[in-house]
Symmetry: D2
Subunit: 313 residues, 4 copies
């Protein structure tokens, strides 16, 4: 970590630009998410990266200011909110163990009597959405305001086409939600919970906004710029721990193995990695590998982590 701490901004920007160039030379592999039609319309050649450091500075390269569908990256924001609302009771309703299953598996949920393995697989994130939907009368708006505050930017919106598409192709998530309801682990009505959940997934943000807004996770719960306490130090550690074991779908172990940073991936092609005590890396490229993780975003983050010696292990 020593090297990273002393890496000057000018060098970091050059480093990102070089990595981007390298990434662009790689053969185009993987394919853009198409499980909902609205996601498949993104240009597959988009590529961006941003690094926000604890001093509030942001270095970036490529399409780092272009908004894209954050999808599962939203699970981290929602989890942070739900942890504040429910405290330790939340962990009666969702575990904190890696899943060893595809992100939308229903099998393990059945085995474990409606208690999802962790809050960043779909089933667990639906429980989290239920916490928000059950608590706030205007939960969707509250969620968006929370993100805007973290990103210190009002220009963050829902993509209505993605939202409609999620609703229309949401049968599997509905199955997960109804199965949990049958076990008594969903309190609001399922359609309302799914609305909340799909709303969260449909938010659009850029790499720069994402890197900026996750800084509290690299700084023990405190936003280092506003000095606002977003969550407790303990909860920041906990979220990082969950991301470390479970944030990259069924490639979480390999990501820990090769990169060694808490990170979350979304099928929109974004990956955000937390470097404790240093900052946040956000990368984006729409082509996904078979696990649902962006090929080039993984490449950029892995290379950067190697060059700067960022692994926590």
């Amino acid at each position: 970590m020593q090297q990273a701490e002393f890496c000057p901004i000018v060098d970091l920007t050059r480093c990102l630009t070089d990595l981007l160039f390298d990434a662009q030379q790689l053969p185009a592999e993987g394919k853009v998410a198409d499980y909902i039609p609205a996601l498949s319309e993104v240009s597959p050649t988009r590529l961006g990266i941003a690094v926000a450091t604890l001093d509030g500075k942001v270095c970036a390269a490529g399409d780092s200011q272009m908004p894209f569908s954050i999808q599962s990256l939203s699970k981290t924001f929602a989890l942070t909110m739900a942890m504040q609302l429910q405290g330790d009771e939340l962990w009666q309703r969702v575990r904190m163990e890696p899943s060893g299953q595809p992100f939308n598996s229903i099998v393990q949920l059945e085995w474990e009597q409606g208690i999802p393995r962790n809050p960043v697989i779909n089933a667990g994130a639906i429980v989290v959405a239920d916490v928000l939907a059950s608590h706030y009368s205007a939960s969707k708006n509250t969620f968006l305001m929370f993100i805007r505050r973290l990103a210190q930017c009002q220009q963050i919106y829902i993509d209505p086409k993605v939202y409609a598409s999620e609703q229309q192709h949401g049968s599997r998530n509905a199955a997960l939600a109804y199965l949990m309801k049958s076990f008594g682990n969903i309190q609001s009505e399922v359609p309302q919970v799914l609305e909340q959940y799909f709303h969260q997934c449909s938010v659009e943000m850029s790499c720069e906004q994402l890197a900026r807004s996750w800084l509290y996770l690299a700084n023990r719960g405190v936003d280092p710029v506003s000095n606002e306490q977003i969550c407790s130090r303990k909860d920041a550690h906990r979220i990082n721990a969950i991301l470390s074991t479970s944030g990259m779908y069924d490639q979480s172990g390999e990501f820990a193995f090769t990169v060694g940073l808490p990170a979350k991936s979304g099928v929109g092609g974004g990956i955000v990695a937390v470097v404790p005590n240093y900052g946040v890396i956000a990368a984006w490229s729409p082509r996904l590998n078979k696990f649902g993780n962006s090929n080039l975003a993984m490449y950029l983050i892995r290379r950067l982590a190697e060059q700067l010696g960022l692994s926590v292990y």
Copy 2:
């Protein structure tokens, strides 16, 4: 991590003694492993802890010099050896993902066509044992010599009663091995592989020996005392990453969540945790919780990590 680095030996020893005292006040919960009779004969009140730091010093308290059955802690040693022998080919035969299943589950092995989820669940460790058994003509002796070299101590032995007991009650491990052989993922004959595996599990070591012998994992692969390169820096990171996501059975996520250190647990009641760039903690108490992890060893390590601020997240 800052605090830890400057904690003087005298204070650390006092700290360990105080934690031990606290632990002894707790109500006696959990029970000594009895899946093999030889393990159940240990006194349940044994309790010890040792911390080895990169400067080669060892602080300790309680039964820190008493040998106990290392059981699954041996998986880390064997994995280190197998990684040297097979290089990246090893990862064709075993994955590096968390398992989300009990440590001896056969279900996931069937689903994934005989490829274990990771090398620290039983099935994966049996593949690792096969690597050793297939490579060395005297694999059992080579394994013991490797441990003695790491611990810089020749007085490390097999417990023959435990070894005999493992053999006699090894039907489930035999089932795992034969199932993998049916998928072509075991090269030696199964009885020979199981001999190697049970031999590894039957080694006895003390907390001080364990803490001392794992230092290379806290120091990028280099034994900080002998300056010997035990494994590559990359492999040390990888082993720590695997321990972080999978080292504590089906409580690995919770351990990351509450402690935040790469660690491995054994049903003999030992837990060893790696603190990168600082040292190694080894604790021992025979009573296990329902996940197979020692209650008091977890308690000691969690408290120490909190006091010294050791979480990697």
Copy 3:
């Protein structure tokens, strides 16, 4: 079967009365279904049996004319209708294999990509309900008319309390339906399909009506009284085959083993068994065993089958 064919009505009635007496001496075991509140209100001591023979006569004893909730017995009627509507295409959407799983398991459905094992487990019956709902503009009414025609009785109705209760506690069935929709195996909207399905389950019939209305299955598809061809000879055989391997939940094998007749069970406490070329037995008692089958209805049918030598094997 010889004995059965020559058993005179007067003797059969006496035989049923005697069996009922024996059943009433047995200790009260099992409990009334309570997964939906409306079902739990039935008196647990109700007990009835009816036998309809191919000559159109009905012998009965006990509460044989009291309507009760037919629940899963409705699956046989709906399957008969769907087989006429879809022909062999139906078997692309649902298999005909025993399930080896609880009646409402979601695990196997996930494994087999949304294709239920057979049409008499819940998932398969929901596909069947989808066939009806997608085909008829007034599918619920058409279903009721079909039953009334078979029973030759207009006084057959839905129990609105059971129907409302099913809707309210239908989360698991909703999960099954949405999971199948996510695999493309449900054509109508899920709420509409569930309405059809719950409507079917909420029909009330008596033992005498049930025995009368299933006669076509004992007579190669032809109602022996009206001489109407209800389904083809082949389809009657097929339905009997499915009931033989899968009609009694996870006790189907044991029922074949001890009784040896095609039969269907419902959690309302009814069981209907087909005796090919002879007639139909319908028995009812609300207390269920752990598999969801009525204890005393099974007892009555087993004893009768033994006395008359009815096993097909």
Copy 4:
């Protein structure tokens, strides 16, 4: 069944010859079992059928006198023996439910704590082999003598090449056996149980011998020629019930659906079907479909059952 009972021998023989001719016109589909090399050496064009009736006569066509590897057909003989030895206690160690899983699945065995679903899947047959191995000092010889007695023929032998091949490729069966032993459901030593099991599978018989030797199952437990009581009437019913729900691997439901007879299939290409109160059909052709059932043997039995109206349903 009426037609069948009056079908004269001369017509039945002609009927079999015609069916054989039809089968030979069909395109060659499926492939010969190759999971053990010794089985793969059989000529794929072999085709034979035999029907034994309760009067002791045998009609046949094609390769009906050529011995082939009976493989899983042996499970019926072994089950008959074990039922005599253990009585109803046997059903504490193996259930009688259809499995809904491939014939050698280990998953369900794990779920159900080492209790196989039924005695004709591999796991269940290994329990049955354990009963024989634990009871007889010369269990393998006793088994062979039992078959010879039933077939009234001393010229029935083990194929030593198949036996050696089974042993050599028996890892999956060893996994099943050790898993059950870990649950306490195997009494003898596993290698001894597997010897017994592989011995049973390696017996060679012809269609005529098979049809003759199963007659007791079509005649309530009594061999109709020798008048010897082979098993109780109840046990004959039970075996037929098990074969009806589980005898044809994961095509058992479809076989009940299309043929409607208790039957057992073996990967050597043989299928034997029981026609209660009439006789036994045995057919053989080595090419298997994806479920492990002989394509042409199924074809022959289905056509014959249709022509003679043999379905029990």
